[in-house]
Amino acid sequence: MAQERTLPVFQASASAIRQEEGLMLYEDMVLGRFFEDKCAEMYYRGKMFGFVHLYNGQEAVSTGVIKAMRSDDFVCSTYRDHVHALSAGVPAKHVMAELFGKETGCSRGRGGSMHLFSAEHNLLGGFAFIGEGIPVALGAAFQSKYRREAMKDASADQVTACFFGDGTTNNGQFFECLNMAALWNLPILFVVENNKWAIGMAHERATSQPEIYRKASVFGMPGVEVDGMDVMAVRAAAQTAVERARAGEGPTLIECLTYRFRGHSLADPDELRSKDEKEEWLARDPLKRFEAYLLEQNLASEADLKAIRDKIQAEVDESVTFAEQSPEPDAAELYRYIFAED
């Protein structure tokens, strides 16, 4: 196991949150965790197919960033997109139905796990290939600037959050888009979920500068290193970046140090990551940590938290029932949605 980076320390008490806010964050993280656990169960029961990449362990990033944004802001994800979709407000039943390949899925059963979309929730996708979502996110951010400046629409202050992993930061689209975002001062957050591993490629074996946040500096862009297992730390960094972007002060690169508790996908035997490493990171479970924080700060009682977990478990269970009972896409519509007029 390689030398672990020291996680930056964040003093959560310095940015105390209201009870309602804390419970909202907790609920979103629980939803992410329980939904993914249910996906694993359904995959092994043969209810969903293909490549399914679960998000367990990284919940503080999705919740910390997306819940610091407005509902009219844009979110752009990768192949590990279920939880970003949930945080962005796509109902669990529509995500589950998509994974079951049903007509009621958010991509009407045409997309699958790696291609979740919802125009209603400004979810730009689900992009399955490494890096290809970054330019698309850049386009949404450009659009905000264009509407504001070229079309004189003062209300066009939407911000875009673009998520991707450590492996993507060695791809050209990452560098090309950081350059354009800084060059044109676009309202975008580049959120790196550095979970230390691509599939079997350890981050430090793939890059000459493992500290990704430092790569922002050559573009004259702020780069921030955050403990990605601490939702409060992620949220604080995201709030600052969103505020900057909305004020027209440009992009931010946020590197969240995190870890996936499962293999790359459910098809990954996960043989390369050491037991020691996994245990070290499991001990930082963002959900347990935030629970402890909420209890410590008297923002919630055990009973409050249990009530949230029960509510979410019921929601996730219902999403399965909904998905199972939903119809398959109509074979007569095989050719629908190729063109805009379809």
Partner: protein, 327 residues
């Protein structure tokens, strides 16, 4: 009527559409201050500003993806490929995101964008600058592919492409920018999905597009002198193909020759022949013939280059042979 060069016809189309719809913008390499490598966007930045005529860094895949994101969120980007060959670097964004995203999103998003620029074999530009990407892109679902060939259709087609709600690959030809034609003073559109019957005839149907239309026209002059009466159809839309116009012609002539500038293997002609066999086999009196570029990287040497693409003389001979004047 005003005599207009093809590159200016394209410029007029962009100017008119930008004036009409503030969501329309141009992006690409040197489209702004430089005016475009073939001057199609000359001085438009002075009228519309740097944001609407956006000079991009040399990052084809990323600025193409950026246009996809802008289109998904309500703008109507026009990408200029400085040379269409450069778009090989953007193949992923064009195929996965421009072409397929509407479908994979189950109709969540539409992607109204135009990708336009010069393609084809020029004069000794070398292999990389002499590509015919239409053949590579024709298999991508969700893309419309159009090739213009005259100032009149260039202007009307580009205006239609900009108004279309789908991604349109719009091929110009590097050797046709200085064609001249009197254009109407009033506004007009040319539909994207209609082939153009260039010459009506009864002996044989010649299907062609882009610069090869002009090689065919030259060949027809010789054929007319020999008393032959070919029908010439400019496909205009390479995807989807206009089988209504193609079929009507085949029912009349029962013979087809495809003249194309793309390479033979996996080319536009290959697709046309397969489709004609599917749809109109019983109408044919002879196997469909195709005259294509050679399956080689376009050589630099002028003589070798001219041997690579179809010449008017070969078209004449092929027609004569098909209608039985020569054996």
């Amino acid at each position: 009527m005003a005599e207009t060069l093809l590159f200016n016809a394209l410029r007029e189309a962009i100017d008119e559409e930008m004036g009409r719809d503030s969501t329309v913008f141009v992006l690409g390499e040197d489209v702004g201050h430089y005016g475009g490598s073939y001057k199609v966007t000359k001085d438009l930045y002075k009228k519309y500003g740097d944001l609407r005529v956006l000079d991009t860094p040399i990052a084809e895949n990323s600025f193409t993806g950026m246009a996809v994101g802008a289109a998904m969120t309500g703008l109507r980007p026009i990408i200029e490929g400085m040379n269409m060959g450069f778009l090989l670097l953007a193949f992923n964004q064009i195929a996965n995101n421009a072409g397929m995203l509407r479908y994979t999103s189950g109709g969540n998003y539409k992607i109204p964008m135009v990708i336009r620029g010069p393609g084809g074999v020029g004069r000794q530009l070398g292999a990389e600058h002499s590509q015919r990407l239409e053949a590579y892109f024709q298999a991508v679902p969700g893309l419309k592919i159009v090739a213009c060939s005259t100032p009149y259709n260039a202007k009307g087609l580009l205006k239609s492409a900009i108004r279309d709600n789908n991604p349109v690959l719009f091929f110009e030809h590097v050797l046709l920018y200085n064609l001249k034609e009197d254009l109407p003073d009033h506004e007009y559109l040319v539909p994207l999905d209609k082939a153009e019957v260039v010459r009506r005839g009864k002996d044989v149907t010649i299907l062609t597009y882009s610069r090869m239309r002009h090689h065919v026209t030259q060949a027809v002059k010789g054929l007319e002198k020999k008393g032959l009466d070919p029908e010439v159809i400019d496909l205009i839309s390479l995807k989807p193909l206009d089988f209504e116009t193609i079929g009507a012609s085949i029912r009349k002539t029962h013979r087809v020759i495809v003249v194309e500038e793309c390479m033979r293997t996996g080319g536009i002609g290959a697709e046309i022949i397969a489709s004609i066999n599917d749809r109109f086999f019983d109408e044919l009196d002879a196997p469909v013939l195709r005259l294509s570029s050679q399956d080689i990287p376009t050589p630099y040497n002028g003589r070798l280059e001219s041997l690579t693409i179809v010449q008017p003389r070969q078209i004449e001979e092929a027609v004569e042979k098909m209608v039985g004047l020569k054996v």
